[in-house]
């Protein structure tokens, strides 16, 4: 028989799931899939045009090309020369930006409802008719090169860069999202323009809109803007899972007041059964390393555990510590405990309850909801699965947690930036 506390937990979980799932619709116009979540309670509208494929469609020589193309495209368009484009956006404070990651890129619009049509006109013109001037290319190129170089100045950013490189060796993700000084310097106006034309096909795109917009209005706007685009026949292939056969450690010597450390392991992609279990397992792991490393032993300010959201995914333990040897051993002991001892029902129930909070905190804004729906869709799970989040979470058992820990937490790829005075490498090969 189910305990009273579990019943109470499940009823609140189901209630919450109902609230978040309402009013999501999808339709297709000229091969462009559109996901619309009507949120009549909000005056803010988020529209995001996603470009599928991420770095997997780029060669090594093209590293950073999509990111740079989107940045330069926002500077001026056929119908909105630079001065007019900036003046119009500033007069409404409608915000247009772009993001690129390993799996996809997006052009993002955020505006208040009363400015949606006018803002959409600019947003769609950036997608369809960017001007790509030499001057804008050079300005944006210099900024991106400076940012790429500055990653090395910040130990946390540098650690993430090296850890990702080391983990995804010989993988499609080995191509840098932002590019390198060499690739960025090589791009010409023609490269950007050609790349833009090649990507402008509805099968390569996905539009997600969240806000107070009716389906009929949106259909009309999408049809007017993108109804005549070429469809293409793009079918993205999901990148393969990484499997390291051996544990490893790479030490990057740098004079720092503390050592920055990350140990990375293969993990299931989100939205799968193992992915939901890994979400909970990782959160329990994060609590435990916090308690053992920070609360009980005062070894670090920032012990943590990550579970990323890449389509080919990884999890990691992370810490900054002046005594890396002792600290990593404590963290590895926690990994081992997760594999050898099932967690208690009460720890699992409390964690699931905490996930109600995490989930909603991650979905407070229309922008966040748009990104979440797109992730489900682009990862191949399907946007409608977003509403089943709590149904999957509530079915997880202590045995599932243990199985996932045993299956995935192995062959950690460690990266350490700093200058450790002592380190027993053999004991952290896990």
């Amino acid at each position: 028989m189910m305990s009273k506390s579990k019943l109470l937990l499940l009823s609140s979980v189901l209630f919450c799931a109902t609230v978040i799932a309402q009013d999501i619709q999808s339709f297709e116009i000229n091969g462009l899939k559109v996901i619309l979540k009507q949120n009549t309670a909000s005056e803010i509208i988020s529209a995001k045009m996603f470009y599928k494929g991420g770095v997997t469609i780029l060669t090594e020589d093209q590293a950073g090309l999509e990111n740079l193309t989107l940045l330069v495209a926002q500077k001026a368009t056929k119908n909105y020369p630079k001065e007019k484009l900036n003046a119009e956006l500033e007069s409404m404070n409608s915000q247009i930006s772009s993001t690129s990651n390993l799996d996809f890129s997006s052009l993002n619009l955020l505006c208040v409802q009363q400015n949606f049509e006018k803002s959409w006109d600019i947003f769609s013109d950036i997608i369809l008719n960017p001007l790509f001037s030499e001057e804008d290319l050079n300005l944006e190129r210099n900024k991106v090169i400076a940012n790429v170089k500055q990653v090395n100045d910040n130990p946390d950013a540098y650690l993430q860069k090296i850890a990702t490189q080391e983990f995804y060796i010989d993988h499609p993700y080995a191509v840098s999202v932002n590019g390198t000084e060499a690739t960025l310097s090589s791009f010409t106006i023609e490269d950007l323009s050609d790349f833009h034309s090649r990507r402008l096909k509805t099968s390569e795109m996905l539009l997600v809109v969240v806000g107070n917009v009716s389906k009929s209005d949106l259909e009309e706007m999408v049809n007017d803007s993108f109804g005549k685009l070429e469809r293409g026949n793009f079918k993205p292939e999901l990148p393969t899972e990484v499997k390291h056969a051996e544990p490893s450690i790479k030490i990057v010597k740098k004079e720092l007041p503390t050592n920055y450390i990350q140990g990375t392991y293969s993990a299931p992609s989100r939205g799968t059964k193992d992915g939901y279990t890994m979400l909970i397992m990782n959160s329990i792991l994060r609590d435990r390393v916090w308690e053992e490393v920070r609360t009980k032993r005062s070894l670090s300010y920032a012990p943590s555990a990550f579970y990323r959201a890449n389509f080919s995914n990884y999890g990691a333990i992370y810490v900054t510590a002046v005594e890396p040897d002792t600290t990593i051993k404590v963290m590895i002991a926690e990994l081992e405990k997760l594999k050898s001892n099932p967690i208690s029902e009460s720890e699992l129930n409390n964690k699931i309850r905490q996930f109600i909070t995490f989930y909603y905190l991650g979905n407070e804004t229309n922008q966040a909801q748009a990104s979440n729906l797109a992730f489900y869709e682009l990862s191949g799970v399907g946007y409608s699965e977003a509403k089943n989040f709590f149904n999957h979470i509530k079915k997880i058992t202590p045995q599932d947690i243990q199985n996932v820990a045993q299956q995935y937490i192995k062959n950690l790829q460690f990266v350490m930036i700093g200058n450790p005075t002592s380190l027993e490498v053999s004991t952290i090969m896990y």
Partner: protein
Amino acid sequence: MTKILKHILLLHIFIVLSAFSYAQKYGITTRFLDNGLEVIVIENHSVPLVTVELDVKNGAYTESPEYDGLSHLYEHMFFKANEKIPSQEAYMERMRELGATFNGTTSEERVNYYITFPKDSLEQGMVFMYDAITSPLFLEEELINERPVVTGEYDRNEANPFFHLNRAVSEKVWWEYYSRKNVIGDREVILTTTPEKMKIIQERFYVPNNSALILAGDVKPDEGFALAEKIFSGWEREPNPFDQYKIPEHPPIPENEVVIVEQPVNAISMMYQWQGPSVGKDPKATYAADVLSFILSQQTSKFHKDLVESGDALSVNFSYYTLNHTGPITLFAQTTPEKFNACQKALFEELEKMTDPNYFTDEQLQNAKTILTTNEQYARETASQFVHTVGFWWAVAGLDYYMNYIDNLNKVTREDIINYLKTYVVDKNYVLGVLTSPENADEIYLTLNIKKGELKNDVEK
């Protein structure tokens, strides 16, 4: 009707009346408890969560040198044993039972603590926060354990090159009372502190009439006020700490100064800093400051075109940080080593142009007001973050300042902006910090016409 029942009924009417009479815009409703605690409810039913935040008027500004960094250490101790929760482990366990996520922050003029949880945990969550703020134990063992954690945070800050630039500039801008702007504090003070010092901070500042309780999210004002009354009324009012512990005024920067900070960096960063207005003394200047910052952030502005589109700077920003005890005005620019000379000259030329009545257009002035107004609208979408914004304004400027902020921004004129610049920036002493790699440092010294070790000089225009 019994006397008690009558009392309860009267109390209820008072709560309801108060809630309505203080009903304000932005979904914000406030009232005071008898002990002086200001209770603020921010209604937002978009997700079924509530955030409970406690804000205290404490932080670096209350710290004499022997307390440098202890507001921050105190913030860490909040999440440890109290009379109801015997240890930090038990504390964390209780958080998980509530389904809560939590954190705290310390800044110059505000310390805040917040937990977010499903709405059915509201009462228990408020009790939890009450116990934490009213009955911390400051166990010697927990304090000793926490010292290396805080210095670990210090280590992480020191690993960031910008920390060194900020500190070098701050030490000179706030030269007389640096501890009162130094949030992270002094390592030695942190490593030698005692439970007694923690108790002193508690007795002085952690009193209801120096604090605010903010409930944000899926909560109705009546429910929030009734629970606040029930749970927080027992917290006893004490004398206003600032009657006894006065905050000294920062004396002006005596002369222009330059400080070169050498760190392993790729770009060159320049930070000019002036002493700006105090919101309590010159609120009008703070509105003008914000409007000017948002004029200059526009891509159509002369400022952006002359500095960024010209290619001299990679990025540039002119901002004012609102504080009640002298907020800094900062001009920050990043450039490449090759462009450093051109960039620093261009920055000076731009500063000189700013008081020209035609420096910005009417449209840019109006756009700045629109941007500030809409940004507030965007911010209110996220109840769990907006609560921190409201708490900040409550501590630094008072809630009325925030509630009337947009109206006052809309009154800012071109003359107000010029007055602000003339009062705080033009021909006023500043500190310039330059962050550079050691390899490029010699070139920087040469360009600025100063010698290594002689870091005091007027910059040549």
